[in-house]
């Protein structure tokens, strides 16, 4: 039993945690929910020794403890999986797992037994039923696999308490399922789990007890059954998720992109698809299914071994992202902080980065044009920046995503490839992004929407392509009216990708535009 009493934490005179009292019973799953900035992350960081409380005490089984570093917390049996990635890319999977806890594998303080390390890490990976090659370098793993790696590392120290801060952020549906099984099995072996997620539904479904934080205070803490009364409107309805996506129907126009029997060096064996103006095509699949492989081929990042890409009926062999941009194919990467934004550059410079020619006067870049573009996107997308030259690193996650999308829109692309554009976002920004996608489709852009969230795909897309082992596994079409996607995309039988519908488009050939004179 862990007890937190009167925990206070301030940062620069700002009260983040205001006398928090919390009790965590052994072997239960405890959920913590709250808005951004409510103090969830700071609270778990105190519990895992990252921060030290200004006031208050933590007791484990009645004994007061004080953690001056995460190491102390791990020794006391509290391990954490944080939001920020702490994987060391240049080390192998095994090294990443064993990192920080050598007790099980080595007799000496200074030397590491490589053989023991490998066997130990294999044992842990087996324990969570996720086979990874321990010799692989961690940087070659994708975000989802890295997340699993973090779990493996946390379990390595055989903790009594496992803190998971937004653990599902990078996982595909399939992996989330495995992950949830891991949680259940860990719980049954007596591990206490603290679970933080923006997926309130899942917390409600899964947790034994629940704590709601608001502005650094506990406004509710207790068994989960009381929960219905917390958000006033939640109790009133069963949530009908599939119906909440604001997609304005469009009539797809002519075919703009056509990929036939594509085979690339890695990942994609045989993929065919087409994309029409004004439509949103969803692509989904588990990790390694080849869904990103198609996109990499489109950007010229993967060598195309076989197959053709037709852009407006013309053969197109992409060379690099620059080449794709010049053909008005815009790609928004999944990890915008690493692959898209320049954190230490001003907002306005970020916005215009992919289309600098737009700003070019006769002799030099035109700062006025740049400022005007920046202001235009600030008003239309409601981006919260205090100055046009504010650095991106100062913005919140939701605003960063808005800047990222604005930057893509500024390129004036006619094909938008959005790779998990809503993954890290809170609901209020997600709804903005969905509306923006719908608007772009309405204006005649063609959108490829890569996601592992089935609900948003079903809500937003005209067609959904499910990839499996490098081939187009299933293809689904939205019917004329209503939402007719099957309940489970991964198991339902679907239409063949290049079937009849390709040769005889059933609808008119002009896209319906949203009037905006």
């Amino acid at each position: 039993m862990i007890r937190l009493e009167r925990i206070v934490k301030t940062f620069e005179h700002r009260l983040i945690l205001d006398h928090i009292d919390l009790q965590l019973e052994k072997g239960k799953i405890h959920g913590i929910i709250g808005d951004n900035g409510a103090g969830k992350t700071v609270l778990v960081n105190i519990l895992s020794g990252v921060y030290q409380p200004d006031q208050g005490t933590i007791t484990i089984d009645g004994k007061p403890v004080r953690f001056s570093s995460p190491k102390d917390a791990i020794r006391a049996g509290i391990a954490a999986i944080h939001q920020e990635t702490q994987i060391v890319g240049k080390l192998t999977v095994a090294e990443n797992i064993i990192m920080g806890d050598r007790s099980g594998i080595s007799r000496s303080t200074w030397f590491v037994s490589w053989k023991n390390m490998i066997t130990e890490s294999e044992r842990i990976l087996n324990q969570i039923h996720y086979p990874l090659d321990p010799h692989r370098l961690a940087e070659t793993l994708n975000l989802g696999q890295q997340q699993i790696l973090k779990v493996a590392r946390a379990i390595c120290s055989s903790p009594q308490v496992l803190i998971m801060d937004e653990p599902f952020t990078n996982l595909s549906e399939q992996e989330i399922k495995t992950f949830k099984e891991i949680i259940t099995s860990m719980q049954s072996s007596g591990i206490t789990i603290i679970y933080i997620s923006h997926d309130t539904d899942d917390i409600l479904r899964r947790c034994d007890t629940l704590t709601v934080l608001r502005d650094g205070q506990v406004i509710h803490s207790g068994p989960n059954s009381f929960l219905g009364s917390i958000p006033p409107i939640r109790e009133l309805l069963p949530i009908q998720d599939a119906f909440k996506y604001p997609r304005v129907p469009t009539r797809p126009g002519r075919k703009i992109l056509e990929i036939t029997n594509l085979k690339t060096g890695r990942g994609v064996h045989d993929a065919s698809l087409f994309l029409r103006k004004g439509e949103i095509l969803g692509i989904t699949g588990t990790l390694g299914s080849g869904k990103t492989g198609i996109i990499k081929a489109l950007l010229g990042l993967e060598r195309i071994l076989q197959g053709t890409i037709l852009l407006d009926g013309e053969p197109f062999t992409p060379k690099d992202p620059h080449h794709a941009f010049s053909h008005r194919i815009g790609y928004l990467p999944e990890d915008i902080r690493k692959d898209w934004l320049h954190e230490d550059m001003p907002f306005s410079h970020n916005l215009t980065m992919s289309n600098l020619h737009e700003l070019h006067g006769r002799m030099a870049l035109h700062p006025e044009l740049e400022a005007e573009a920046a202001r235009r996107y600030i008003t239309s997308l409601k981006i919260k920046v205090s100055r046009l030259d504010e650095h991106i690193s100062q913005l919140s996650g939701g605003n960063k995503q808005k800047v990222a999308i604005a930057k893509l829109l500024f390129t004036d692309s006619r094909i938008l490839i959005l790779d998990e554009p809503t993954k890290y976002l809170d609901s209020s920004t997600r709804i903005d992004v969905y509306n923006l996608m719908s608007k772009c489709a309405g204006e005649g852009m063609a959108i490829i929407f890569i996601s592992t969230d089935e609900r948003e795909l079903k809500g937003m897309c005209d067609r959904i392509l499910v990839m499996k082992k490098g081939t187009c596994h299933n293809f689904f079409h939205r019917k004329e009216t209503g939402r007719s996607f099957p309940l489970d995309l991964y198991t339902a039988p679907g239409e063949e990708p290049m079937g009849q519908s390709l040769n005889s488009p059933t609808r008119g050939s002009t896209p319906q535009r949203m009037e905006s004179e």
Binding site: T200, P231, P232, I233, R234, L236, L237, I239, Q240, D241, F243, K244, Y245, P246, V248, P249, R376, T379, S380, L381, K382, D426, S427, S428, R430, I431, D432, N435, L436, S438, K439, G442, T481, Q512, M514, E515, S516
Partner: protein
């Protein structure tokens, strides 16, 4: 509150809403109904307004015209964008109802390129707007005339009677206030009755309301928040509202400023 400050407030309210009832004024200004009546009497003597039973109308020559003044509406642009977006939600062959108010009028203005659409409306301005459009089959609902957000609109028992025999694929209506805890409100009780009827008579009830309508209450209660789950509004809507509505399963359509 001082009498002259209060009178000034009433004037402001009337200039914005064109008409108001004593109940609302009394709750807005936190004074007794008797006090409000005295103030209205005084303003009637100044010919600023015209008293009607239970309320008052702005004595504005513009009200007499069919097209009520819309140029001074600070949210005209937002309402227009909502109209454009909402009109995109109309499918071919739809039978739709469009209610009173300028936002609804904007929907009618942008119904284009649709085939076999039937529009039923109680909004007189929509009738004049669409009169020349031969593509659309237009039907009017009669009743008692009242002014709803700068538009002449039918209401009352006759309207309800007519509408009760109809069925719509989609109904677009506007409300004057939306509150997360309490639901929807209109300034006119008659319009609220129509909306409640439409909830039963439509596949989809869509609320069109610019972002200023949220987080407020108005005089007449229409129904709880979940009487529909489709709202068309602006991106300017506050984050907490977006979040709560989306998480409650609302289909929240939003317009983007197109300056």
């Amino acid at each position: 509150m001082l009498a002259d400050v209060r009178v000034k407030k009433i004037k402001e309210i009337l200039l914005e809403y064109k008409h108001i009832d004593i109940n609302t004024l009394s709750s807005l200004l936190s004074v007794s109904m008797a006090t409000i009546r005295r103030d209205l009497d005084k303003l009637e003597q100044e010919s600023f307004l015209v008293r009607a039973h239970g309320g008052a109308f702005l004595n504005d020559p513009a009200v007499d015209e069919v097209q009520l003044s819309g140029s001074e509406d600070p949210y005209a642009q937002q309402k227009r964008e909502i109209g454009i977006l909402a009109s995109a939600l109309i499918d071919d062959n739809d039978i739709i109802f469009i209610g009173g108010g300028v936002t609804c009028l904007q929907i009618a203005k942008h119904v284009k390129n649709k085939k076999h659409v039937t529009i039923i409306t109680n909004n007189v301005n929509i009738l004049t707007e669409l009169a020349s459009n031969t593509e659309i089959s237009l039907k009017a609902v009669g009743g008692d005339l009242e002014v709803v957000d700068q538009c002449l609109t039918m209401a009352g028992d006759i309207s309800l009677e007519t509408l009760s025999h109809m069925y719509f694929n989609k109904s677009f209506v506007t409300v004057d206030a939306i509150d997360l805890d309490n639901g929807y409100f209109t300034n006119s009780p008659q319009q609220g009755k129509i909306i409640r009827l439409l909830q039963k008579n439509s596949d989809d009830l869509l609320i069109v309301a610019d972002y200023t309508k949220f987080g407020k209450r108005a005089f007449s209660y229409v129904g709880e928040l979940l009487m529909t789950r489709k709202i068309v509004t602006n991106i300017d809507l506050s984050e907490s509202y977006k979040k709560q509505l989306f998480e409650s399963g609302f289909q929240l359509y939003m317009t983007f400023d197109n300056q």
